[in-house]
Symmetry: C2
Subunit: 362 residues, 2 copies
């Protein structure tokens, strides 16, 4: 119970930039002199057209996307994408490669299985409890796509570089690190991201799809489960999640205009993560769980000497205004999620707290 | 461009109760002393548990639902439901009855067709441009369900009473009139409603499903396309649209605590609609488009003597702070959408404007 805003280390839904929240709040009863709340304006109005086009344009500029790429706003989160991807891109004779790096990849593979779609798990880090990102993967030559999860919120690992797939398009779940760093888009045929980590509120999923992927997609599907429905109607075949698209637009504006673009955003994210990892590495009390070269810039997972101390740590941090540090319920331990909106001030406060907790609980 | 809030007659996204918007605004940077925005709190937190359970409990109380009914929060709008309903409830040998009363029913039928699911269109009002609701329908005896669209935003018609289907469960799209009136729930196996008319922001779809419908559903489907995934996980198999669920909770609270419940809400809606229809009926300048016994309490569609006058009417109304009066782009004319949140003050302002417009443009 606090009247102050906390330092929010939630894994998702997660912290949003304070400036964005303040702008939403101040215009919430009357958006842009429309006399209506953003939640009340028609998606067929010029007000909303401007928002959705601005959000797509900003995404294109930030990621330096050329005209082959379409930016779509969908619903159902990454979980619906897990199902839509094999549904759209695998006919009865096709197969796809999947790399299994944790809970989310496992779920993506499960949805291909449910549909009896051919797929190969060409690499997995399950042998070491998903604590690393596989290297030197041998991809199939005829795969329609290679599916990767770029960042694993639960285990704290991340593809710091993307593998060479011999020209096979990568289809990538970037829910937890989209717009956190620059990307070589030549490798990607499709990127998808639930908004609730780096982009906005839950309930909106951004999809970036290349024209050649659209061209090879199955058209004989329910309207809401075809990518072409969204690309041909500017994501407005039916009413889109307007509040989510609006918030995403403001977050992308914040990255462009306040943070100075994606290169600067990436620098800031590296600086924040390095500070925290360096502190943990220098300590014999705290230890990271991910192998060094696979460490995530977004989710720093760490342990204390005992489960009891971890419980005490999380409770004591919460009391001091540092929220969301409990590890995922499936693995325990501690986790600091430090997405784009996490501030250096928050990282410093966390490290200071970790230092004093160690002293008091040796 | 206005610093005042307008009277908002949009068809959806549509007006929300001012009290609800003010509550969202005032707590937007710090929800319930959490130190976080509602958009930043974890869906696995006790904060959100309370919200989603409260929203479901209020829905159950308002509609007097017994324990057979589950209240679910989904994504993808009514359009995804069009596809999920035949997918979940029709096996290869089953068939369903559809009643075609306009654009939305037509789309629902289209999605059954795409999946090659057996269905019969047992009644249609297409012969008179969907200006009425069919009566004395003969339903099939062995249908798995009867699909109806309770209210047609575009043509301004509504099932004022629901037909006797000989015990076959009605599956009903109530996107534009849910919680606007009391219902005899014995008739319904499933109700679904995109939130953006009577419930909250776009991007959340409420589904009310009876246990026997769940029991007969196909389980061999992608996780996000099965109703059981939502019913077994309290709508949190994956991250739900938290902001939408939160707003719905506040709107249902407003109906219960401010409006005095669903009976009172219905009385208020009838009073508002009657006032407007009575005025139009008394005029030789304005005319309604829906047959009298099929008139919608939610969307009042009307014409002026010419298309030119209609354009002038909409533009002039907008200038005077009466927004959203243009008919759907597919049919033209004028339309006043007067959902739950539309106020008597707004109806009176509209009638006053209509009177003076008529005088000035005879």
């Amino acid at each position: 119970m606090t009247d102050q805003r906390i330092f929010n280390f939630n894994a998702g839904p997660a912290a949003l930039p304070l400036q964005v929240l303040e702008e939403i709040q101040s215009s919430f009863l009357n958006f842009n002199h429309s006399g209506m709340s953003i939640t009340e304006i028609s998606h067929r109005s010029s007000y909303f057209d401007k928002i959705i086009n601005d959000a797509a344009d900003r995404a294109k500029r930030l990621l330096k996307l050329d005209d082959r790429f379409h930016v779509l706003f969908m619903q159902g989160g990454a979980s619906l994408q897990f199902a839509m991807i094999p549904m759209n891109f695998l006919s009865d004779s096709d197969s796809a490669d999947y790399v299994n790096t944790g809970t989310w990849s496992t779920k993506a593979i499960k949805e291909a299985k449910i549909q009896n779609k051919f797929h190969s798990v060409v690499a997995s880090s399950e042998d070491k409890d998903f604590s690393y990102i596989p290297k030197d993967i041998e991809f199939s030559k005829n795969a329609r796509y290679v599916h990767l999860t770029s960042n694993n919120t639960i285990k704290g690992t991340q593809f710091r570089e993307f593998p060479d797939t011999n020209g096979v398009p990568i289809v990538c779940d970037m829910s937890s690190d989209i717009f956190s760093r620059c990307l070589d888009m030549e490798k990607f045929g499709l990127i998808y991201a639930g908004a609730q980590k780096n982009l906005g509120p839950s309930g909106t999923c951004m999809v970036i799809i290349r024209q050649d992927m659209l061209d090879m997609a199955n058209e004989n599907l329910p309207s809401m489960l075809k990518y072409s429905t969204y690309s041909s109607k500017n994501s407005m075949y039916n009413t889109p999640p307007c509040f989510g698209v609006y918030t995403i637009d403001l977050v992308l504006k914040w990255i462009e205009e306040e943070m100075g673009g994606l290169e600067k955003m990436e620098e800031y994210n590296i600086k924040k993560a390095d500070l925290l990892y360096d502190f943990i590495d220098s300590s014999s009390y705290y230890s990271t769980t991910a192998e060094q070269y696979s460490r995530s810039l977004m989710n720093v997972t760490f342990r204390l000497p005992s489960g009891e101390l971890e419980q005490k740590f999380v409770a004591s941090a919460t009391e001091k205004g540092l929220g969301g540090l409990k590890g995922h319920r499936s693995v325990g331990g501690c986790r600091a999620s430090i997405y784009n909106a996490a501030t250096m001030e928050g990282i410093n406060a966390l490290i200071q707290f970790m230092e004093s907790f160690e002293k008091e609980n040796k």
